[in-house]
């Protein structure tokens, strides 16, 4: 059996603009909103994306159990670990890496089903967020909380820079001001989220 060390999960379905990962629920390292993840698609090419949704679906069995008077730990674990797998994590593709270079463009190929997805480490997050070209991809994304997602991504970029985080945010704020010069209300919303 092929294993993926430290994986977030495996790809359920994918397109050029994004993909969904199936994960086991309640892992301590369960990915969070705004996490930068990577999936290797071809030799020396990795698709990079930002997590924008984690879905734990229901079904009639669970609905019935919600009405039960008392559930044992065994019942809850059975439902979570044996039945409700996978939880579905939605990812917006924001770039790719080829031969060690990051590109803030849509990937040339989407990942394939069952490819392993990993969370990027701090060095990769720092390297990817050194440039701001991916802002456009996020801001133009439809049907997802784009402003929240960009803010979460930037806060992650701030975190991995330690003491240099504040300067990073100021530079990102300048770029956002340029991109959203015609939409001051939206700009204000994102900046407020960064300050929160």
């Amino acid at each position: 059996m092929r294993d993926c060390p430290e994986q977030v999960g495996r790809v359920l379905r994918a397109s050029t603009v994004g993909f969904a990962i199936g994960v086991r629920v309640l892992q301590p390292e369960l990915p969070t909103f705004g996490t930068l993840v990577k999936v290797q698609t071809q030799v020396a090419t990795e698709v990079l994306g930002l997590i924008y949704d984690v879905l734990i679906d229901d079904d009639p069995f669970v609905r019935q159990l919600i009405a039960a008077r008392e559930l044992r730990d065994e019942d809850v674990l059975d439902q979570r670990q044996n039945r409700q797998v996978p939880a579905e994590v939605s990812v917006l593709a924001v770039g790719y890496r080829r031969n060690g270079t990051f590109y803030h463009l849509l990937p040339p190929q989407p990942p394939a089903a069952l490819d392993c997805a990993f969370a990027c480490d701090d060095a990769e997050v720092r390297a990817f967020t050194n440039r701001t070209d991916y802002f456009r991809i996020v801001l133009q994304a439809q049907g997802l909380p784009a402003d929240e997602l960009l803010a979460a991504s930037l806060r992650e970029g701030e975190r991995v820079r330690g003491g240099g985080g504040r300067q990073f945010l100021i530079e990102c704020g300048r770029e956002l001001a340029r991109l959203l010069a015609m939409d001051p209300v939206r700009l204000d919303g994102i900046l407020r989220r960064l300050r929160a």
């Binding site: 069995f61 019935q64 159990l65 009405a67 039960a68 008077r69 008392e70 559930l71 044992r72 730990d73 065994e74 019942d75 674990l77 059975d78 979570r80 670990q81 044996n82 039945r83």
Partner: protein, 403 residues
């Protein structure tokens, strides 16, 4: 739409009215049967003589054990730690219109260690079998009968229970004080699936089944089959037999066969059971149970209110005689059924999960059929369904026009 719903509306209403009227008649008979239950609560020698004579005439009913018929025995407390193994099975019957003659049995089970705080362990066991040269059963165009497949499914269920019970007992180091219980969904006795079999086939199947029950007995694991909303009238027939005003030697098979036809099912006469309580023990007088007895595994039954909202649900429970004879074992079965049914509101949680693990859905069935066809084509076979099956598939798809 081929079923013109507007054309069956009237028939649906007629059916509802008819069933409501029947229900009223059954309720009226229920009072009478309840009185009989109390009148014959302590079966005397005359009634037992009647039962012996009736059995000789082929009567199928409930033979009482040694508890009063009106007994209502509460469930003991559930021990803090007990392992429950539940199994269920489903099948794809052979289809002579398919590209190949095969059948599939899927048995699912779950090992639930109550009180451990650990996630239960689910298990699946799919079995595919097909026509081989040496098969001699069935007919030329149907080598497997649906009833044979059903009987094998029931056997595989209890075989899996036995194997898992042995493994769980071994995991405890063989400590017989560690409580383990095995549950099957549906009757424990292979009664329904053996209706059309010859007596020789019945005995053979029962012996295979009894072998598995003996494995469970050997590792000290009580086993029970739980039947939700049972429709049988075994105890009702006993009451009607008791009511016959004639001595045992004057009984006639014709009058025995007519018994209970318009009576309510047993579960309704045990409406006095409170949640958690069980009825007295009975034994099905079917010849098949005689076969189980000959194999050392006579099956006993009792009714039980498993609770679950309102006045609760009354189900039938089947256990081997060695469980019925051991108050600790039967109490444990009862406590588990009651406790498990509180989770899901009237049906044991572990059986609901075992069913979910076993059931073969329509998309899975279609996918398997596709796999079989691809494999056959790969071997150079002409893997086409019959023309009838082909046209059935086409006509059951969404139509372009209304008709």
């Amino acid at each position: 739409m081929t079923l013109e719903l507007n054309q069956v509306t009237r028939q649906v209403h007629e059916m509802a009215e008819s069933l409501a009227a029947r229900q009223k008649r059954l309720v009226a008979r229920l009072d009478e049967l309840h009185d009989l239950l109390h009148r014959y609560a302590e079966p005397d020698d005359a009634l037992r003589a009647k039962i012996r004579q009736a059995r000789a005439l082929g009567w199928i009913g409930a033979e009482p054990g040694h508890e009063p018929l009106t007994a209502a025995i509460p469930a003991p407390p559930l021990p803090p730690q007990v392992s429950i193994i539940a199994a269920d099975g489903s099948q794809i019957h052979p289809d002579r219109h398919a590209a190949a003659l095969y059948y599939v049995i899927n048995v699912g089970s779950i090992l639930y260690r109550c009180g451990s705080g650990a996630a239960p362990e689910p298990f699946h066991q799919p079995i595919l079998d097909y026509q081989k040269d040496e098969d001699e059963t069935g007919t030329d165009d149907q080598p497997f009968l649906a009833a044979d497949v059903d009987a094998r499914r029931d056997l595989e269920e209890v075989r899996l229970l036995a194997a898992q019970a042995e493994a769980e007992r071994a995991a405890t180091g063989g400590d017989l004080d560690v409580r383990i219980v095995a549950l099957a969904d549906g009757p424990l006795m292979l009664l329904r699936t053996l209706y059309e079999a010859t007596r020789q086939e019945q005995r053979q199947q029962v012996n295979h089944h009894a072998d598995q029950l003996a494995r469970l007995q050997a590792v000290h694991v009580p086993v029970a089959g739980y039947i939700d909303r049972p429709g049988s009238s075994l105890v009702v027939r006993l009451l009607r037999l008791a009511q016959l005003d004639k001595p045992a030697e004057e009984l006639e098979s014709q009058e025995l066969r007519a018994q209970g036809r318009n009576d309510p099912p047993d579960r309704l006469i045990f409406h006095f059971l409170k949640p958690g309580e069980r009825s007295a023990l009975f034994y099905n007088t079917s010849r098949i149970n005689d076969d189980y007895e000959a194999a050392g595994q006579r099956i006993a039954i009792f009714y039980m209110n498993v609770g679950g909202g309102g006045k609760g649900q009354t189900g039938r429970v089947e256990v081997p005689h060695w469980v019925a004879a051991d108050p600790a074992m039967i109490g444990l079965v009862q406590a588990i059924l009651y406790d498990q049914s509180q989770v899901t509101g009237g049906y044991p949680y572990v059986l609901a999960r075992a069913h979910e693990l076993a059931v073969i859905t329509a998309p899975e069935r279609a996918k398997l059929e596709e796999m079989v066809n691809i494999a056959l084509i790969g071997q150079g076979f002409d893997a086409r369904p019959s023309e009838k099956a082909h046209w059935k598939q086409l006509s059951s798809r969404k139509r372009r026009f209304g008709r």
